[in-house]
Symmetry: C2
Subunit: 396 residues, 2 copies
Amino acid sequence: MKKLEGGLENVPGYRFSAVEAGIRYENRLDYTLIAADDFCNAAGMFTRNRIISPAVRLSRQRIENPIKAILVNSTNANTCTGDEGYSNALSLTADIAANLSVPEESVIMSSTGIIGHQLPREKMMSFHEKLVSELSREKGSQVPRAIMTTDTYPKSCSVSFDTAMGEYVIAGTAKGSGMIAPDMATMLSYAITDAPVKRDSLVKIFRSVTEETLNSVTIDGDMSTNDTAILLSPAGNSFLEKKSDLESFNEALYSVMYSLSEMLVDDAEGGTKVVRIDIKNAANSEDAKRAARSIAESVLVKTAFFGNDPNWGRIAMAAGYSGAEIDEKKLSIYFDDLPLYLTGKPVDFENNDINKVMKQNRFTVTVDFGLGSSHAHMLTSDLTYEYVKINAEYTT
Amino acid sequence: MKKLEGGLENVPGYRFSAVEAGIRYENRLDYTLIAADDFCNAAGMFTRNRIISPAVRLSRQRIENPIKAILVNSTNANTCTGDEGYSNALSLTADIAANLSVPEESVIMSSTGIIGHQLPREKMMSFHEKLVSELSREKGSQVPRAIMTTDTYPKSCSVSFDTAMGEYVIAGTAKGSGMIAPDMATMLSYAITDAPVKRDSLVKIFRSVTEETLNSVTIDGDMSTNDTAILLSPAGNSFLEKKSDLESFNEALYSVMYSLSEMLVDDAEGGTKVVRIDIKNAANSEDAKRAARSIAESVLVKTAFFGNDPNWGRIAMAAGYSGAEIDEKKLSIYFDDLPLYLTGKPVDFENNDINKVMKQNRFTVTVDFGLGSSHAHMLTSDLTYEYVKINAEYTT
């Protein structure tokens, strides 16, 4: 596997376009199209929120179809917009499909932005001809910017990997600077590859990879109404089927999705640090995940990170209320390699040593339960003044 | 029922004392004793955190015994302190029991403060004679201050109520300015009454009242290792048993515990507002509670309150991911009496009207699910710069 410069434009077989449609603001890329040359198998992961955008509803319904295109708008989430909102999503995808001369069921859609406003359908449609006529491989570099809301920089990456059938590329992009930005619902992520993978394998691999990457990221614990992650792979006649090839594919996809996850946390609203919470030796994997999430979402833990405070007591507390089986006497807590609490006993540490760890903008907190052999991790950010400012000062 | 001036000192049959024992800081009341003249029935609610203070472990073991006294220290939580911590709690309660000439199993204990430090046992014991010799009813007014950690003011209240057996008093005190203050684990609350209630009724009533008061409060969603609420009632020969008398008792206790809950949120770390989240017409009571908690704990909702932003979209989003059954088309959201979202449709509102609501330091957000008839509420605070400051700047 090899990391490449650049993103979506590195993958043969896809074309892209992006326009300033003025959906909510002028002079900003806000409407983008990802089109595959051939029909694709698609795997999708969607928000578990019960209030969902019509775009999520439509994409969920179509994800098992052969997919030709993904249409994405930013600045308006098309959420809490009722039947009119759903009908708008239907017309927009139907019109793009007509322009592409493909079945409307082969086009899926995502929306991200403000909640409770109807999309300006006619205005958006007036850009469809341009979106289709300007499709090119090079414009893949514009997609990451066109899907942004409060992100401070566009996020994408790509890798190549070898298989018995030759070399392939996977590229991905993501947006979302709070898991929900201020009223700007959504984490969106799209990955594309020229590696042909059968749909059942594709879905299985994508699910397990997103579980350990995008689903192991928390910024504020709020789950958006629009969260969507999609992976496209060409649906040809021959597929990667050898175990070792699928493993290479899995590893390459993991690398892309993990990098995107790190970028999301790095760009967390107001965040100054990326902290990896590593749970080791929990009684079972459910417990490991639960504890990782509980610690990563504790606002007391996150404010302590901001304050460079190695507050292992708050970490023990958050592990304790996670519901995971825990035995104080077997519990150990490390900041990077420095133990602060060892099998039930506080450790005297040098201020110099811990300051070195905490002042980094990336470090790892390891919580060893000493009970079993299950592991899990979460990436989280610190909770800062700036986070409060960004989220308090936005006005509906 | 009548609200009274003052707190614990209003209840006949109890005496109190408080000293500056220098447990962690000098010149600060940090060690206090509540002693009942007669043996009491006790009801207790304890943290569900799996990492618990030895004080919680000991109190849980003894709560069904006839109780004579409650010993409380602040500034040190005696948590993550292993066998030595438990043995310290045992010796301290045994020594107080000896000084009071009562069985050691009739004394319970709470600790609140920093995690991971052993209690200075000998130093504390040297104050036991004084704690016992200075017991008086008047000193009830010192208990609320002696149990404080980062609280900015002592919290207590009392009411009297009539029964067929005469007039009785219930008084209570509480502390905790985050549900966990910075590393200062704990919400503690003690209520005492001269009304004699059989233990099974006492436990049942206390459980249902705390569920709707102390357990319906959230400041940061973090559940402490030391949370404890205790209610004492004299275990005499005759008891309140008439249904109407027990209802009066219930109502009086609710009033005391609800007032204390409001004070806790009012004194929330850095908080500037007390917001009541009212869930109406949820499909069932589990759903109602879940939705109330999800909204009350959403950091995006709480930062919006701070920013005077009537962000109903974030409220819908938090209701949506709570797991409660929800139908967007039946959902309505009000800020006080002002509807912002009505059966699935955003409402145009006047800025003046909403500003009037949001600038109050107390208001109610009502979320009507339109699905069933179950209700629930939570009290929450806003999330402010000051909260981040308090919790980031504390240094372990």
